[in-house]
């Protein structure tokens, strides 16, 4: 049930998707993998939108060089765990939701249990090997993965609905080389907003999701373009053979 206080808090968005939509957000649980450049704006907007439970997983400490983009963390948080800093900020922003934080590194051995019973996973990671792990967990649990990634003034995003749309490995069969990427906070903000919007649309069952499309943002030219993508029937992660084997 939506309380009187919540009804007031969410009044302006309930005009879009009604009490029923707000109830859905309240009953939902979203896992955010990473509390950095993408994770910060995603977590903030999902918290204020009233997603009932947020799980945030990160294993880093706040460093001064994070602060140009990781807007969940403040100067006074330098040296704190990112999870602790995130938890405090999100509780301040919206005490009506439940925030769970897990201070660990995601890998193939723990990913499924970290994600638990979440209704969707936000990819706010900074590397492809762990993204592939999340992709596999999303497929195994049959929950959506909201992908985003940034570099400099460029970003990309796509929404993955397992077995329905192209998965992360269908889109990117091979990881780009590892590097310390330059990034401006506003780019992470832009892509994070696309991801947060997708989560809200998915949970309230509104609009057209960014599935089978890769959105490419070029901040330098102020152009957003998209590339049509398709499921790869031979995909290592979600292809027909793999799926058939999993079903056995």
């Amino acid at each position: 049930m939506i309380s009187k206080r919540e009804r007031e808090r969410y009044k302006r968005q309930m005009a879009l998707f009604g009490e029923e939509g707000q109830e859905r957000l309240k009953r939902s649980h979203i896992a955010i993998a990473g509390a950095g450049g993408l994770g910060s704006p995603v977590a903030i907007y999902l918290a204020v939108a009233g997603i009932g439970t947020l799980t945030i997983v990160d294993n880093d400490m706040v460093e001064v060089s994070n602060l140009n983009r990781q807007i969940l963390h403040s100067d006074r948080d330098i040296g704190k765990r990112k999870t602790a800093s995130a938890e405090g900020k999100l509780r301040d922003l919206n005490p009506d939701i439940s925030v769970r934080v897990i201070d660990t590194t995601i890998d193939a051995t723990n990913a499924a249990s970290l994600i638990g019973s979440a209704d969707g996973i936000v990819d706010a990671l900074d590397n492809f090997p762990t993204r592939y792990v999340l992709n596999d967990v999303a497929i195994m649990k049959n929950v959506p993965l909201f992908h985003g990634a940034v570099r400099g003034f460029y970003g990309q995003a796509s929404t993955i609905i397992p077995y329905t749309s192209a998965c992360l490995r269908c889109i990117f069969p091979k990881a780009p080389p590892k590097e310390t990427v330059p990034v401006v906070g506003a780019t992470a903000g832009f892509i994070g907003m696309v991801q947060a919007t997708e989560v809200i649309k998915f949970l309230t069952n509104r609009g057209e999701l960014l599935t089978n499309r890769l959105l490419i943002w070029d901040g330098m030219q102020a152009r957003a373009e998209e590339i049509a993508i398709k499921r790869n029937p031979r995909c290592e992660s979600c292809g027909d053979t793999t799926t058939a084997m999993r079903k056995k």
Partner: protein, 104 residues
């Protein structure tokens, strides 16, 4: 008297190549080129990328093969980079070459 040699004149095709993100910074984009009949996708992009060695090295390995993470699209359809040498370019094709980004 001028002589025309129609038989041996190579037919030229117009092809548009779009680079994205980092590739665009180094090589430009919306490049319309006259491509020779029969040229394959890897040859086409190699010729264009050759004008900037940094751009070339971002896209191709030392054997002149597409790096495995490079995303190739032809007229909106994905081409696996391993199929690029067998993918013949046709008049009017639009090719997109895109590097995934990984930061978060």
């Amino acid at each position: 008297m001028r002589r025309y040699n129609h038989c041996h004149e190579e037919k030229v095709m117009k092809v548009k190549v779009r680079f994205f993100a980092r590739f665009k910074e180094l090589l430009g984009t919306d490049i319309v080129v006259d491509a020779a009949t029969g040229i394959a996708l890897n040859g086409l992009i190699r010729d264009i990328a050759a004008k900037n060695s940094e751009g070339y090295d971002e896209i191709f390995d030392e054997n002149g093969t597409f790096k495995d993470f490079v995303i190739l699209m032809r007229n909106g359809k994905r081409i696996d980079s391993t199929d690029a040498p067998q993918t013949k370019i046709e008049d009017g094709d639009e090719i997109a070459v895109f590097p995934p980004v990984a930061g978060g």
